[in-house]
């Protein structure tokens, strides 16, 4: 009898405790880390992404938050300094205990935080187009892999513009080098002669383009239609396009297709010399769709500047944030492992009228668009992919990565070698 009473009392106590913890939980918040440079050279691009996430959080909180809790942003500034990215990531994960982090722009910053996220089992949404050859358990890649941007762009030039000669022009660092390696292999596989491919690298912030542009002009006047595939980064673009304009190379003769020039970058320069040049992205502000109009209006209202542009990485964050929200709702918790298990297969509308689906390799499906620059700094869409293209972590065109597969659902591995049947764990090399 006494024992029974004891049991009851214990039960009541436990129930009370559970109840009170639930009440506590309802009052609590979910912390969302924002890891974007707000100062230094990358501030130009990354500040916008910080604002995007803050806007998404505000919108979500207006809808009543998530799992009955409010979302709270924890913003840190890694100041365009790669080692500082790792330090700030550790701070977010170990001190602030964020449930999820949205961040990074350059590949080198992602590579620098990767070990931290893997060690502390964090969750990072990475929103920028990148060179591929990576798939981490703890990273969701919402930007384009090479097969969702570079390869379709080259295909477009080859088929619709009948380009026969190629200049691969890039800034000297990891993203252009890897992308150009993939593109070169792809072009050679398509039967382009090695003499018709010219690959060149220039240093960061290269400002004197006279020699290079003259060389491109010479290379392009051999009687075959020539195009430039540009992975030139950031600040070096302006003098490059200016020099093209000055040396009278028009987009009609030698078009330049760029992978890192978007609306945001164009807003800071005189667009006259760029008109007609191309960019390949998965989103353009000028695409007309109800979701995009709503997003642009919300964005303008949030930043209180009716002329601020939207761009591709912002859409990636929009998709990433919505995917995470859906995964948390599905899992019923913000626990990283459970969210990661819930993510693959989830779908959310993108801004251009399609559906973004989360794939087992931690990449998503995206439509590909090619736009021509207009005088007002926006893009006219001249080509789009038939449907969405699934992101491929490991390129099928590089000898080393052909046989490697990423699958976090069945294989539970980011780099499974289908030939040797070995998963080399978190070593990406």
């Amino acid at each position: 009898m006494i024992r029974k009473q004891l049991f009851l009392a214990a039960g009541a106590l436990a129930a009370a405790a559970a109840l009170s913890s639930q009440i506590f939980a309802q009052g609590g918040t979910i912390k969302v880390g924002v890891l974007h440079s707000l100062s230094g050279t990358m501030a130009i691009s990354e500040t916008t992404l910080k604002d995007t996430i803050l806007m998404m959080i505000e919108e979500q909180n207006k809808k009543g938050g998530l799992l009955g809790k409010k979302l709270e942003a924890v913003v840190v500034d890694p100041a365009s300094d790669w080692p500082l990215f790792a330090e700030k990531a550790r701070e977010l994960l170990e001190k602030d205990k964020v449930a999820v982090t949205f961040g990074c722009w350059t590949s080198v910053s992602r590579k620098s935080v990767l070990p931290v996220f893997e060690k502390d089992n964090g969750l990072l949404f990475y929103p920028v187009q990148y060179e591929g050859e990576e798939s981490s358990k703890n990273v969701i890649y919402t930007g384009a892999a090479p097969n969702q941007q570079a390869i379709p762009a080259v295909d477009y030039l080859m088929k619709d513009v009948a380009v026969k000669r190629w200049v691969l022009e890039g800034t000297d660092y990891v993203y252009p080098r890897t992308t150009n390696k993939i593109l070169e292999a792809y072009l050679l596989a398509k039967g382009v002669a090695p003499a018709d491919i010219s690959i060149n690298y220039t240093p960061f912030g290269h400002a004197d383009w006279q020699t290079r542009v003259a060389a491109i002009k010479r290379f392009g006047s051999a009687g075959k239609k020539t195009a430039v595939v540009s992975t030139i980064n950031g600040d070096a673009n302006v003098p490059f396009y200016k020099e093209l304009g000055n040396q009278k190379i028009s987009a009609e003769d030698i078009p330049v297709v760029a992978f890192s020039v978007g609306e945001e970058e164009l807003s800071g320069l005189d667009t006259k010399p760029l008109v007609g040049h191309l960019a390949a992205w998965n989103y353009f502000q000028s695409i007309k769709s109800p979701a995009n109009t709503k997003f642009i209006d919300t964005w303008h209202a949030y930043v209180k500047k009716p002329k601020r542009t939207t761009n591709d990485p912002m859409e990636a964050h929009y998709i990433g944030f919505n995917l995470w929200v859906k995964a948390v709702q599905k899992a019923g918790t913000t626990d990283v492992d459970k969210v990661l298990a819930a993510l693959p297969g989830l779908e959310t509308p993108n801004l251009t009228g399609g559906i973004a689906k989360m794939l087992p390799n931690h990449h998503i499906t995206k439509p590909v668009y090619i736009g021509e620059v207009k005088a007002d700094g926006q893009f006219d869409i001249v080509w789009k992919s038939a449907g969405t293209v699934p992101g491929d972590a490991w390129s099928d065109y590089l000898p080393g990565s052909k046989d490697i597969e990423a699958d976090w659902v069945t294989l539970k591995c980011g780099n499974y070698n289908t030939k040797t049947k070995v998963c080399s764990g978190q070593n990406y090399k």
Binding site: V161, Y201, A207, D208, Q210, T211, S221, K242, G268, D380
Partner: protein, 550 residues
């Protein structure tokens, strides 16, 4: 009387018949024209190309207007009645557009931008349109437009173009346009069947060293897949082969001249960014890490001037140069009076303090103008190329910068050598105590010298705004280069800066085609380090007692 009436009636009838039939005819022509326009609404780019061709062939009087509008992105579909309309040129920011009927060219009301769907073009379509439109411009009163038209037509020559060019050749008076037309006709003569004429054409073409000509001649030397020559006539082949090698030789020479010019233009940019530093660092001995940010201030001044006078972009540069000199000069004087003067003789502390100032200035412009780059427009007179002969084209903006550097250098030299301020600057830098004893206010001279050097940096910023990004990081990307030039040229020597900058530019550009931009830069740096090892005081070391005592 009756006969006359009858004749009159007949006449009237005839007239009426003619009128009726012509209106009926006009109606059908206009109807097909409108129908073609309607097809543009949801045509693919290749369909648009076909429709444009049909419009030109129809020789409808409005075809030109419609195609010009298409080329200028001013052809729209109005949502209310799905009609194709032309919009009048308007400001990008205008919310609604004035519309024109494509058939009557009369005003057709206005519509908000949302109600209009633009009929887009792509590069290929624009190129086709431009070549097609060039035919309309062939008889324009402006010789520049005619020249442009002929150049456009040369991009793709066919029989109809040949006929037009032949027709035009007799009437053309402008020698440049005539030369282009002749080039076009000679290129066409290659397609003929008369061997002697073709060889004559090849010999004429050999004197026109252009890539386009070379490519055309090279096609005469190509072989089929089975190893036989495409061109059957051996004499023509021999002539073409000589012509190609002659053009190749000419192109090599022009290429060398071009590289030389590239070197000079890079050199003059280096001189321009370093010459202000040659004053503050060279003459005063102040290691000013904020020198780059003073250039940045000059570049932002250019931007502000352009924003204030949007209607006169061409003239804005001339306002911006003195404005940038004043803004950067004043910033320099304030910097000298508030910080640097307390740190004379302590180079390490000056370095750290000015580095701090440079960060503060960067953050200042970030706060005022945001971190985004600002768009500085290039005035029309500064863009484009100066065509020298057939193969050499020199870009105007680079040419102007070379000239501008020379002018700045000459003025600075004159200030230092010919003015009272210059005399005082030299006196103070050589022997401060003696100068003071002679009644020179050395503190005032210090401030003025620093202001002068900073002002020149601001002026360099105006030039840089035409070449590169105007953003908070502008200064950082040039500071190292400017110090390198000053050290290489010899501290305290303006001529050293000029020779040093120019030779660094030349060496850089001579190396770049062989070594690539990345390796070229490294090689220049290594060579510079070795040079400084051998001659620590640079190309033109200061000599004399004043230099020894430093």
């Amino acid at each position: 009387m009756t006969r006359r009436t009858a004749r009159g009636q007949r006449l009237w009838l005839l007239l009426a018949a003619v009128l009726v039939s012509s209106t009926a005819f006009a109606q059908t022509v206009d109807e097909t024209f409108l129908a073609r326009l309607g097809e543009l609404r949801d045509a693919s780019f290749s369909d648009k190309e076909r429709i444009a061709g049909q419009l030109i062939e129809s020789r409808h009087p409005r075809a030109r207007d419609v195609l010009t509008s298409l080329l200028g992105d001013r052809l729209y579909v109005r949502a209310s009645d799905m009609r194709v309309v032309i919009a009048r040129p308007a400001d990008e920011t205008a919310a609604s557009l004035e519309l024109v009927d494509p058939l009557t060219l009369k005003a057709a009301g206005s519509a908000a931008r949302e109600e209009l769907t633009k009929i887009g073009t792509n590069n290929r379509l624009r190129k086709t349109l431009r070549v097609a439109m060039a035919r309309f411009d062939l008889a324009d009163a402006d010789s520049a437009i005619r020249l442009n038209a002929v150049t456009e037509m040369l991009r793709s020559l066919d029989d109809s173009a040949a006929a037009l060019l032949k027709e035009r050749a007799g009437a053309e008076t402008d020698s440049r346009v005539k030369g282009e037309i002749e080039l076009g006709l000679t290129l066409l003569a290659l397609d003929g069947s008369d061997s002697a004429r073709r060889i004559a054409a090849i010999e004429t073409l050999a004197g026109r060293p252009r890539q386009q000509v070379r490519n055309r001649l090279a096609t005469l030397l190509e072989k089929n897949a089975d190893g036989r020559f495409v061109e059957a006539d051996a004499a023509v082949r021999a002539a073409a082969s000589t012509a190609v090698s002659r053009i190749d030789r000419a192109l090599t020479v022009y290429g060398a001249v071009e590289t030389l010019f590239f070197g000079l233009s890079l050199g003059s940019v280096l001189v321009l960014i370093a010459i202000g530093l040659a004053i503050t660092f060279g003459v005063m001995g102040v290691i000013n890490m904020a020198h780059g940010e003073l250039m940045m201030l000059g570049a932002y001044t250019t931007y502000v001037v352009q924003v204030m006078m949007p209607a006169h972009i061409g003239a804005s540069i001339f306002v911006a140069i003195p404005a940038a000199f004043v803004v950067a000069g004043l910033a320099g004087v304030v910097l000298e009076r508030t910080i640097i003067r307390f740190l004379y003789g302590r180079p390490l502390e000056t370095l750290l303090a000015t580095f701090g100032v440079s960060l503060a200035l960067q953050q200042l412009v970030r706060s005022i103008f945001t971190a985004n780059n600002r768009a500085v427009e290039t005035p029309a007179w500064m863009s484009g190329t100066l065509q020298l002969g057939d193969a050499l084209a020199i870009t105007y903006n680079r040419l102007y910068i070379v000239i501008f550097t020379m002018i700045v250098f000459a003025i600075l030299l004159a200030v230092l050598k010919r003015t009272r301020l210059g005399l005082q600057i030299r006196a103070v830098s050589q022997n401060r105590a003696m100068a003071r004893a002679m009644g020179i206010r050395s503190e005032w001279v210090d401030a003025m010298t620093f202001g002068l050097g900073s002002g020149i940096a601001g002026v360099a910023g105006v030039a840089l705004s035409q070449l590169t990004n105007v953003g908070p990081n502008l200064g950082q990307s040039y500071i190292i280069d400017s110090f390198m030039v000053v050290v290489f040229g010899g501290v305290g020597n303006l001529w050293g800066t000029l020779i040093g900058g120019m030779s660094m530019g030349l060496v850089n550009k001579l190396l770049e085609p062989y070594a690539g931009a990345v390796l070229g830069k490294i090689l220049v740096l290594v060579a510079l380090i070795l040079f400084i090892q051998r001659r620590p005081r640079g190309l033109f070391p200061q000599t004399g007692r004043a230099a020894e005592s430093q």
